[in-house]
């Protein structure tokens, strides 16, 4: 189960993720990201309530990061310890801007 809360204003979008970002929920997240991308210069992913991430979720993050590199910046915030560990072992801690 994944819940995505969306907020956009002045070219900045915040997606707050709650639950599990896995093979089953990644497509939902992917379409939410795609829907919000056009016209924004800043994307913030709030991971405060994100409990779990697998490679399917990482793929969407990487796609979003690539896209945002061409049109602005992307931040990932409030990452908990377990998700942070996944970012670290996969080198994502270096390619994502984690706050």
């Amino acid at each position: 189960m994944l819940t995505i809360n969306k907020k956009t204003e002045n070219g900045k979008a915040v997606l707050a993720l709650e639950g599990r970002l896995d093979t089953v929920t990644a497509p939902e997240f992917d379409s939410a990201v795609r829907a919000v991308l056009p016209g924004i210069t800043e994307l913030c992913l709030d991971c405060k309530k994100l409990e779990y991430i697998s490679s399917a979720g990482l793929r969407v993050l990487l796609t979003a990061q690539k896209k945002m590199n061409t049109q602005g910046k992307m931040k990932v915030c409030n990452v908990n310890e377990t998700v942070m560990e996944i970012f670290e072992v996969t080198g994502f801690s270096d390619i994502l801007t984690i706050e």
Binding site: T23, Q65, T82, I86, T90, G91
Partner: protein, 535 residues
């Protein structure tokens, strides 16, 4: 009328019995019964009884006092209603008269060895029985069909027993029905749908566990047949065959026993299975044998037989057997098909030889040539196989530590829940639990995406926990395309976002989450083992 052997005496009741003639009738009956003591069973034949009032019923009650063993047979629906309303059916043994149905000129919609099925009107069919003991057979089929329905098999239950000529029949309601044989013969675009629904129904039946003693074991029946024909085989092969049948594991799972496309019908938009009289319990190979017989075995010498029986040709019947067996096994691996097909054919030929010997074709030359062909093929198979058992993938949970489940991403949650349920007994840190979840997800999803694509097959997930230090071992098996995921190079995690490729992370992440991972390809199976210590 008397029958001294059974010590019963029959009295015929006819016309109307009411207050006007009750005492006269009573005197008459008593006259007929004089000389018979109370040990005799009094049978009132009510075939010609039109009406009975309470005065008449009192007569019967008085006679029952003198003759406790009393029954009324051949009761019409009208009279039965009176007896039921007054509570007589509870105190006296009452047998209803059978409605008489004529099947003259009716369309024959099915024919088996035991009788024919006629359509008597738009919504009803009657199944007739050739055997002398038809009533017992009808009762048996009604009983097992009811049992099957209660256990979850969509089937039709006969709602009436009728008299058809000298024998009996059971009546079923089958609205707008047509058999899968008819559909396959006339609607080629529905072929894939037929295979899907056919296999779904077969798996449903095989997944049902039957309470002890409710149905006979089909293995016993097969053993009798194999023992009858074993001496026709050379070089001790007969004994080998009997031993192999004896070794087939017992099972309490349901077996239909005659599961071919004539017995699967589409009634409205519902798929039903009919012809339940061969319902039994046993290993799934016993159903596969009868399927093979229907599509290939019977017509192996003379292909016309399948057309006469099913209404479609051997091109369709052979393809249907091949495709439905693969689907049933949840694989597209032709070697796996061959392995099971050989085992099925082995028992099929044995059964056909026994059957063909006991029911020879009127043409002795043809009869002999057919049996010779079956025998040659049986000997060929018997020389190369040593067991008739095979892995049953029909049931999802095979034992407490392992599940076999369709490898589709929709089942991911089930798999993770299963693994976690196995870990409940050990003290597993949330962090370790998540790491295991990730590893399980990556591997299972990998199988779901690639092993059988574009088809669907089974994945096995086995969880074992050992002590000192507490270590979890998770083994994944599938029968899909051989693939060693460990051969893949790890992604370079030092690259920038723009340089990195989107894929290739799953296996890498798995390796990071656990302590040890190994792969082997054995007996047609991909086997991937993960190990993690929980210290």
């Amino acid at each position: 009328m008397t029958d001294d052997n059974q010590k019963s005496v029959t009295v015929i009741l006819s016309g109307r019995i009411d207050s006007g003639n009750a005492s006269e009738t009573e005197q008459n009956i008593n006259k007929q019964l004089s000389g018979y003591n109370s040990d005799f069973t009094v049978v009132f034949d009510a075939s010609n009884l039109v009406y009975i009032s309470s005065a008449g019923l009192r007569v019967i009650l008085r006679i029952k006092k003198a003759y406790p063993d009393l029954k009324i047979i051949g009761v019409s629906s009208e009279v039965y209603e009176i007896l039921e309303m007054t509570g007589f059916t509870e105190i006296i043994d009452v047998e209803k008269a059978y409605r008489v149905v004529s099947v003259e000129g009716c369309e024959v919609i099915g024919e088996g060895f035991n009788g024919k099925v006629y359509r008597i009107d738009k919504d009803n069919v009657v199944k007739t029985y050739k055997n002398a003991d038809a009533l017992a057979e009808i009762q048996h089929e009604r009983k097992v069909a009811k049992l099957a329905l209660i256990l979850g098999v969509p089937t039709a239950i006969s709602y009436d027993v009728v008299k058809v000529g000298d024998s009996y029949g059971s009546v079923f309601e089958l609205l707008n029905s047509r058999s899968f044989s008819k559909i396959l013969a006339n609607e080629p675009d529905k072929y894939d749908w037929c295979v899907d629904e056919y296999v779904k129904m077969l798996k449903k039946i095989h997944s049902i566990i039957v309470p002890d003693g409710e149905l006979p074991s089909i293995k016993e029946k097969t053993l009798r047949s194999v023992r009858r024909m074993k001496d026709t085989l050379p070089d001790g092969l007969g004994d080998k065959l009997v031993a192999m049948v004896e070794d087939i594991p017992e099972s309490n799972h349901m077996i239909h026993g005659d599961f071919h496309t004539k017995n699967i019908v589409l009634a409205g938009d519902e798929v039903l299975v009919i012809d339940m009289d061969t319902l039994s319990v046993g290993h799934p190979i016993f159903d596969l044998i009868h399927m093979y017989n229907a599509y290939v075995g019977f017509s192996e010498y003379d292909p016309k037989i399948v057309y006469d029986f099913q209404g479609y040709n051997t091109k369709i019947s052979h393809k249907f057997w091949h495709d439905s067996l693969l689907k049933y096994l949840g694989t597209k691996d032709e070697n796996r098909y061959k392995e099971v097909d050989d085992k099925v054919r082995c028992l099929s030929y044995a059964g056909l030889i026994d059957w063909g010997t006991r029911h020879p074709d009127p043409d002795p030359q043809k009869s002999e040539a057919t049996i010779e062909l079956w025998k040659t093929r049986l000997i060929e198979i018997l020389q190369k196989i040593n067991t008739l058992d095979f892995d049953i993938s029909a049931d999802e949970q095979t034992n407490a530590n392992e599940i076999k489940i369709d490898a589709i991403t929709d089942n991911l949650e089930k798999v993770i829940d299963f693994v976690n349920s196995r870990l409940e007994a050990v003290d597993c840190l949330p962090k370790h639990q998540m790491q295991l979840d990730i590893a399980v997800e990556e591997i299972f999803v990998n199988i779901a995406h690639y092993a059988y694509s574009p088809d669907v097959g089974k994945a096995g997930v086995k969880v074992e926990v050992s002590d000192d230090p507490v270590t979890v071992t998770i083994t994944f098996t599938d029968r899909g395309v051989p693939y060693d995921p460990l051969k893949k190079n790890d992604p370079d995690v030092s690259l920038s976002a723009d340089e990195r490729e989107i894929g290739g992370l799953g296996i890498f992440l798995t390796k990071k989450m656990i302590d040890d991972i190994s792969y082997e390809y054995k007996d047609g199976k991909n086997i991937l083992t993960l190990k993690k210590a929980l210290n």
